[in-house]
């Protein structure tokens, strides 16, 4: 386990409170230490945005899958093995030149864990939860994303157990790319809707550098 904190600093109150709680729960036998490790291992190393990128790249390169995904996302991703906690019910919303989608949970932090892993800190923050529904354009601008005035914005407030994933627009010039190469253009943020997928030139540049 990485030790990235400074040992010369005294532990914070929170650190002590959580430690005390963990000791108590272990002592009473209410949690199994191996289960704690398995939970952390799952979200640190197994479940993450690469799952979502796989789904998006497949949708870009396989029209039948895209159709299935937009019709019944829950079933379409189960076939790829993506099912589990905080991904029990899924809807995929498609970005087009005329419509851009953005996902938020104003009441807590609902997020498609099975496809994106745990949400980033900003997604759970008060400013994002407050502003995404009322001023999405200024939120997008904070992420460096600008959309034409004519593009309508649809914001999805995740108030139920339905989870939302944005299908970003496929970058121009990637029409004949294979699924594996396309995945590299799908950022996590593009699947939340705060950014667009990376342009094809990102990879061309990387290829040139390597």
């Amino acid at each position: 386990m990485p030790h990235d904190h400074d040992h010369t600093e005294p532990p914070s109150d929170l650190e002590l409170r959580v430690k005390a709680l963990e000791s108590l729960l272990l002592e009473k036998g209410l949690v199994n230490p191996d289960a704690l490790n398995a939970i952390i291992e799952t979200y640190e190393h197994k479940v993450g945005p690469k799952n979502g990128a796989h789904v998006v790249a497949k949708a870009w390169s396989d029209p039948d899958f895209k159709q299935a995904l937009l019709t019944d996302a829950t079933s379409a991703v189960v076939d790829l093995g993506y099912i589990g906690r905080q991904g029990e019910h899924l809807t995929v919303v498609e970005n087009t030149p005329s419509v851009h989608n953005l996902v938020v949970c104003t009441l807590c932090s609902c997020y498609p864990w099975t496809l994106l892993g745990l949400p980033p800190i900003w997604y759970k923050s008060a400013p994002y939860r407050a502003r995404a529904v009322s001023e999405p354009r200024s939120v997008l601008a904070e992420f460096g994303s600008e959309l034409p005035e004519s593009t309508g914005i649809q914001v999805w407030d995740s108030t139920s157990e339905m989870r939302y994933l944005v299908l970003p627009m496929q970058p121009a010039g990637t029409e004949d790319w294979g699924e594996a190469r396309l995945q590299a253009l799908v950022s996590r943020n593009s699947m939340i809707g705060v950014e667009l997928a990376k342009p094809a030139s990102t990879l061309a540049q990387r290829d040139a550098e390597s």
Binding site: A35, W122, T159
Partner: protein, 213 residues
Amino acid sequence: MIGGHDLGGKHGLGPINPEPESKEPLFHAEWERRIFALTLATGMLGQWNIDESRHARERQHPVDYLKQSYYENWLVGLEKLLDEKHLLERAENQQENLRIPDAVGAEKILASGGPTLMQDKAPARFGIGAKVMAAKRQGSGHTRVPAYAQGASGEIVDHYGTHVFPDANARGDRRGEHLYSVRFDGESLWGNESQGQSVFIDLWEPYLEAAAI
């Protein structure tokens, strides 16, 4: 309840300041990693459901909710649930057989999740395209209709079937109600400055009234 957690449309909270995606750690301190795992592991004991868990975090002074970090609110919620369910005393007295998942058990629970879709018990009241209004709800219990939508009118765009109703589930009563996706024009929520924008909210049938056209 319209608590500190009900944030849609609030002003004055400042910039988002997102960390760049490539440089962002999953947890920002070891205690966050621990409280995350403890919350999930104790949830697997089946002594409370996800809505009780959300409600436990919401039932705080709004100033505390907003001042505390995200995982600190998780800690507060878990401490509250353990206390209210007397779980530590019950474990001590060994009066009942609590099933404590091991690593394999925990992985199984994470992989199967907790679907909320239920059998329909009654026909849906609203069809696709129906105009509805989100009712004003002043109760202090758990609910999932955001304050900013209350009193606003929108249109049903999808029907997700019957799902566990959070307001009842938070009181330990697992029953279903029809769940809809409702589209609200930005204008009807926020005024004229929001043209070309709409907000889709998942709302259960008891939250909705037929709108006068």
